[in-house]
């Protein structure tokens, strides 16, 4: 067992490079008492069975039918110890189901080993992205620390709850019950599968999983079975939550938040070194050994938009770019405290261009924004619109509106609900039978802070400024989620 144990120890040591992740939005509020926005990180004590939402504005557009699945942390605090970072709460899968103009809402916790242990102990003990954990933790493999709390991908009659340090967790799409961790192949069990897979127009799925200065590149068939998995070396051991892709290339953005030391929590391993600049590694999808490396001034980020390529090989993609990692480290901790001033400046929606001659540049739209999303019918190919959350003013953390940016005209069209609303990530829903880029809806939940309830809104991509086409209101509030996926 000697060799085996050594292998296990190596794996376990590397495990600390495998814990969880993120989302962002921001803040700078100064609030002394429990803030009104604290509903965003409130605890949900038990699964929320399916309840009807009430239509409070407009009516559902014809053809708008399906389910918005959303994931995000739903419980942080336990008597014997609590998660101290927004990215470390228990995964809570939400389903907003729309049919015949009516909407329902339900939510169910991912039944992970972490949640089972912490329920038994009545204490959060497992190390996470920003939560140190303690000696009571039971972490025999990275999936023992898997919070399954970051994003969601539809997979047949199931949904996969995604986290970035471990395996997808399959949950039933009908009742959200947990089925178990997904092993895409026996010898790849436990390999990290990050929270932001990219989709080719033909349905092929690409994803990455980080492990220090290496990553696994996953390629899945449209039916979610494994096509290939390949391990690739990286020029630096950078923390990243996302990657992007064109039809022909994978684009890996290596921010200068780089590995410095083995420690817990996970985020404490990385040092922010702006002097290193940001690197962008481009890999040929048909031969991952064919790479190009671009250099940009330093910026931080969590989220990228879909990339595309011009005829001459120029690659473009959007990024919600930040100046540093203050929000990731400190802001997301204060968010869970639910009071006070939340460190970190809002991200700016920016566009990176990687020129065919090896130069790279980045321009800012001048617009504050996070969660960049675009038309799924144009994933990896030329497009002009990017949706994002917006409206952070510095007076309060988290966004209060959403916007669509037009990269061709430079114009931004947005809608702001005002300070009493926290708007979550809008997801694109193409209009059935239509193909125009603006022929789509944006569907986004919000927390109505004045009423203390969760809402669901549908916007026309081409006319966001006119406000929601329709809104439904639940009679209870769920904490803010991170990422969603639409299943029509």
């Amino acid at each position: 067992m000697q060799a085996s144990r050594r292998a296990f120890l190596t794996g376990a040591a590397a495990l600390s490079a495998a814990v969880l992740t993120p989302e962002t939005v921001r803040a700078m509020a100064a609030m002394q008492a429990a803030a009104d926005w604290s509903l965003a990180t409130a605890d949900l004590e038990a699964d929320a069975p399916r309840r009807a939402m009430r239509l409070v504005h407009g009516r559902a557009p014809a053809g708008f039918e399906g389910t918005l699945f959303r994931n995000g942390p739903g419980k942080f605090r336990r008597p014997g110890g609590s998660a101290t970072h927004w990215f470390d709460g228990d995964g809570l899968m939400r389903a907003f189901r729309v049919r015949d103009g009516a909407a329902t809402l339900e939510a169910r916790f991912a039944d992970t080993p972490k949640r089972r242990l912490e329920t038994e102990l009545d204490a959060v003990v497992t190390p996470g992205f920003g939560t140190p954990g303690d000696a009571r933790a039971r972490v025999g493999s990275n999936d023992d620390a898997n919070a399954a709390n970051t994003a969601v991908m539809a997979a047949g009659d199931a949904v996969w709850a995604l986290w970035e340090g471990g395996s997808p967790l399959a949950m039933d799409g009908g009742d959200l019950s947990t089925r178990g961790f997904v092993a895409l192949r026996d010898d790849l069990k436990g390999m990290p599968f990050q929270a932001h897979p990219r989709f080719d127009p033909d349905g092929a799925i690409w994803n990455i999983g980080l492990w220090g200065d290496r990553m696994v590149v996953w390629r899945l068939n449209p039916d979610r079975s494994l096509h290939t998995a390949e391990v690739v070396g990286l020029p630096r051991a950078s923390y990243m939550h996302d990657f992007t892709a064109t039809a022909r290339h994978l684009v890996i953005v290596l921010q200068p938040w780089v590995f410095e030391r083995r420690t817990l929590p996970f985020a404490a391993q990385f040092g922010w070194k702006p002097e290193l600049g940001t690197q962008v590694l481009v890999l040929d999808k048909t031969d991952l050994s064919r790479t190009r490396l671009f250099e940009l001034p330093a910026f931080s980020y969590f989220h990228l938009g879909d990339a595309w390529e011009d005829a001459d090989g120029t690659i473009r993609f959007d990024v919600a770019a930040g100046r540093d990692v203050a929000f990731a480290v400190e802001g997301a901790r204060v968010l869970v405290e639910g009071r006070g001033s939340v460190p970190g400046e809002p991200q700016q929606l920016s566009l990176v261009t990687l020129h065919a001659d090896g130069r790279a540049d980045m321009i800012s739209s001048g617009v504050t924004g996070e969660f960049p999303k675009s038309d799924p019918r144009r994933a990896g190919v030329r497009r002009r619109y990017t949706s994002h959350v917006a409206g952070e003013t510095g007076g309060r953390p988290l966004p209060s509106g959403l916007a669509v940016h037009d990269w061709e005209t430079g114009r931004s069209s947005g809608f702001d609900f005002g300070e009493a609303m926290i708007v979550e990530e809008p997801v694109w829903v193409p209009r059935p039978g239509r193909s125009g880029e603006a022929e789509a809806w944006l569907v986004a939940p919000s927390i109505n802070l004045a009423r203390g309830v969760t809402e669901l809104h549908v916007f026309d991509v081409g006319d966001v400024a006119s406000g929601p086409l329709c809104s439904w209101r639940a009679d209870f509030a769920l904490p803010a989620g991170f990422h969603g996926a639409w299943a029509g």
Partner: protein, 140 residues
Amino acid sequence: MIRIACAAAAALTLSAPSALAQDGGHAATLTFETGASTGRVLVALYDSEAAWRAERPAARVAIEATAPVVAVFRDLPAGDYAVKAFHDVDGDGEMDVNPFGVPVEPYAFSNNAVGNMGPASWERARFAVAGDVAQTIRIR
């Protein structure tokens, strides 16, 4: 000498380097719940924390995983013991790992102990033998 018996009885190995014969010793019966019935379950018994840390088992056994998978360590002097086991599902004699070095074949420790960012500690896995003892270990 520590004697080992396997209920499944197929592949029985014995290696108890320095344990003295001890009349009237005790038996530890370990039943393994496996998730597959192929390959073998490899079990190592340790009789001290030092041996646990240094990978010096007092005895080892390999048991065919066709049910039931039971390891019996006999003639044990009274004291504390702990067990490490892994299920060599494909029967290649190695604990298979994924490309990042994390085990992909099931492993377990006595008391069904789980480690904290590593193998279970002696403290979590040890059990007292002062008379015959038995426990069921989930290895799947």
